[in-house]
Amino acid sequence: MAVYPEITPRELRPARHFFYVALALSRMEFKLRYFGSVLGYLWSFLRPFLLFGVLYVVFTKIVRAGAGVEHYPVLLLFGLVLFNFLADATMMGLPSLVSRESLLRKVSFPRASIPIAVTATAAANLGLGLVVVLLLALVNGVGARASWLLLFPLVLGVIVFAAALALLLSVLFVRYRDVQPVWDVALQFAFWATPIIYTIGFIPERYRQFVMLNPLAVAVEQGRHWLVGSEVPTAEAVMGSYAKLLLPAAVFVGVIALSVWTFRRRSASIAEEL
């Protein structure tokens, strides 16, 4: 008679369980997405850079909107990499619960680990993208500087924001299947409403504050400042005062709170609703 293998799981607090599952799932996701074919990974990684190439040519040679902007390619790529991450995490996160239906209906584990794992996978890609941004900055003549270190907490904030959106969208999608096309359109809108291909200077002054209500716009703007220095104004300068920055901060906190609240309220009944 074979002796069965056995491990005594450590005392299982939900937070620990959550962490194990999120880690294992994101690893699996990463393997599936990227190790299946080398070219597959390359394409997925290159996508923002190819888009960058197209936009760069269009906006410096044809439309010439970016032609006069100092370090335009660095600013453009930074915006694209951040936005691409947000889009990736949310578009993959949105159907993540529904597509793991069988798992949810058969095992009890912290449900949030699924959308969080998807966000973590996208974040790994973001990390690589940012390395390329910094390399491009050096090539473009931006000297390495201490303020680059501030990009880490900033990017962390964006990751948290994306995770909150992924949580919210994933649990809404269980109930409402048209969240997907709606979010698709919302992302298109956000792409143009965020200073990615343009800098905030192109927006007429009285609209700038509206654009900056979007936490992602604040992150891109402030990140650009820390990236290349005083050629780009700080988020505070754009808004006019620190007090006004509380507005996008409130949006940021509000989205997180809404998503956590919604997820907690719904998570116990996800298995029944699938």
Partner: protein
Amino acid sequence: MTRGSDRGRAAVSCSNIWKQFRLPYDRPYTLKQRVLHPKRSHAARVLDALKDVSFDVEAGEFFGVIGRNGSGKSTLLKCLAGIYVPNQGDIGVAGRVSPFIELGVGFNPELTALDNVVVNAALLGIPAQDARRSFPEVMRFAELEEFENLKLKNYSSGMYVRLGFAAAIQARAEIYLVDEVLAVGDAQFQEKCFDTFRRLKRENRTVIYVTHDLATVERFCDRALLLERGEVMALGEPTDVIKVYRRRNLEEEQEAGLRPTTEEAARRWGDGSAEILDAWFETDDGTRQRVLLQGTTVTFKARIRFHSAMDDPVFGVIIKNEREDHVLVTNTLFDELRTGRFEAGDEIVYSASFELLFADGVHTASPAVAYQDAQRFADWQEDAVSMIVRGDRFSGGIVDLPHETLVERTAETEPRAPQARVSSGAE
């Protein structure tokens, strides 16, 4: 609901569990529908999946839960596993619960065994490095050592369940929830699973086993629970509970009477020179029955009308059990019976009588009329009628032949009278 509370020696204690599902008539799945019909979502039917279910399972018990499809067995198990939250009632669980609700949950066919086992372990609360360390043991237990680096999509279904079982058993728990997992896989694998569960039981761990397989309940369970439409119908000794279950099934089958099920209105072929109008089973007093008792004499009958003339047609019938074994095959050619000439419009009744030695379970009869050569068919009606054989026990065999068993001492010991002699089989 309290989890992890220890109430005396009970490993699991359920008191007055209610679980309701809202089944909307027309589910507002989209925001648009929701906005246009804000009231409609309230038009939902409430289904009581579990009604006031109470029972305790003691530590070290092998506890069976039986009941038909839709009786609430799986819902109960999911409540115990924490996947569903009961609307009312209290579930107390002393110790860790390991759900075997399905084997190989979360397995991805594109990944190797190692990757899948690590993910599975994480779901059960085991960190990756621990899972990697014990991975060779898991593979040894699953008898899959040579296939470590194979992607799961290249595994056979048997290998897949073996890996699933080994991966699931590796998380130590005090309570194991098992939902029919053993129905898949070969007999050897099932034995291994049960061995494991018996071993767990000896270590004072608890197994709650949900199944349709009454034989295993009788063989392994200490106690059993019968659910019907979400209510507890019986709780106690497995043999008693199974008796209640069978009696209730029998009553319902008789109520359902001779109405054929849809699956009986099945496949049919032939050139139509003859037509099987009707087929049925009779007891020896000549009444049509669908539920027949083992050991009685039974007659299969088919009424046949000819639409064109046939010389020496062959009449026959195949009776199959649920596993599609051909339990009885007979035709007039075997008996070298020259049946003669039939004209268009003639009607006959073909019958085959036999002593009912079939094992307990559903059997279907497929009658046929063929030409003399028994190669071309006038009419073949697959599964034209079914009957349910009821024996006093479920043996697992195809037929229950009368037999005698004997236990004797070997030559080394003093020659004595036989120790035990048992006669068995249908009388």
